[in-house]
Subunit: 209 residues, 2 copies
Amino acid sequence: MLGTPTSSRIAARREATQREILAAAWDAAREQGVAQLTLRDVAERVGMRPPSLYSHFASKHAIYDAMFGQGWAAYLEACRATRPSLPPEPRARLRAIAHQYFDYSVADPAWFQLLNQRLVPGFEPSAESYAPSLAVIEILREEMEEMGITDAAAMDLWVALVGGLVASQLANDPGGGRYRLLLDRAVEMYADHVGLPLGTTHRAEEENS
Amino acid sequence: MLGTPTSSRIAARREATQREILAAAWDAAREQGVAQLTLRDVAERVGMRPPSLYSHFASKHAIYDAMFGQGWAAYLEACRATRPSLPPEPRARLRAIAHQYFDYSVADPAWFQLLNQRLVPGFEPSAESYAPSLAVIEILREEMEEMGITDAAAMDLWVALVGGLVASQLANDPGGGRYRLLLDRAVEMYADHVGLPLGTTHRAEEENS
DNA sequence: GTCTATACTGTGATAGAC
DNA sequence: GTCTATCACAGTATAGAC
């Protein structure tokens, strides 16, 4: 029966249901926090009884895992979509990358918490769900390589710097813009440090605002 | 009866028990994670039944709150103790401050998670428990002021930078030293940015290793 | 595949005896 | 202050009818 129109339609229906469940899980996570996610809540949102979720996901962690993969896949897609329109000048390019990540995270703190912090108890993503995150890192590596930054440590420093600003924004000034205002300055500091050539006037550009 | 030897001894006994409970809570948090802390576990460690804890703390959040205050008070004490022996040269001084915070956090991730991340569900520290944290910030402000860094935004940038490195270390390389190796480099980057005068040779000094 | 019903565990928290 | 007993509830998971 495998591969027949019928089974493929069934499979499609199954996938659609899974996506629906995941969408409900994201909604719940955004409203109450990632760690506060409950199967009861998710089930209610999709019009199911909690046990029915087990027809689609083996456990709550499996849902987290799928969310993790889906979240990184979505950001990967956003990166790929934005890439062609990034400004060519290195500093402006770095600024645009930083702003994209920062704004994406602040617009969806649940996304940042699940994917980039360790906010869920004993959750470890599976290799499959981890893959898109590696693809994002690879894109970043390519971008930096094109700027002449080939040092792996320099990339770690970049990630820690931008991640630290996002985390500070969410923890110390949620809903505000205190750390977002520091973003251009932080990028400039980093660019100076890695020896990027000075760009043209830039503070006013704000590619991703 | 208030103020008599008897009542003060009783009060002292009470305080001792509270400290014992908090110590047990820290032990439990370090072993299983701050968010996984349970009253049962804490009670068992102090040889009590769980309900008895309510004679000393009004709720689980009250325990978190006391831990928060105690944790910042301990770090404040460490800061004050270290301060006289900090190197006078600005860059070396900044390096020492960064290393102290970094190593303190990495040595006790539970401390970092409770005090500096938002790892506990709906926990918000009380004003009283928050006070020692403000004192730490004030010390940092004074330190930076003496170096000529009076910009509040520059302090935010510092906190985000060092915090980002600690968080990355704990999340991406627990038990390792990948981000710790970046610390001196990050401090140098920051010092250049804020225009600190160049120090003498420093990479080899490692004041707080 | 989805439902109802149920089981089991663990949680923070309270009441009242001693 | 500490205990026993118990609550109310959330959480994950399974069995079996439809």
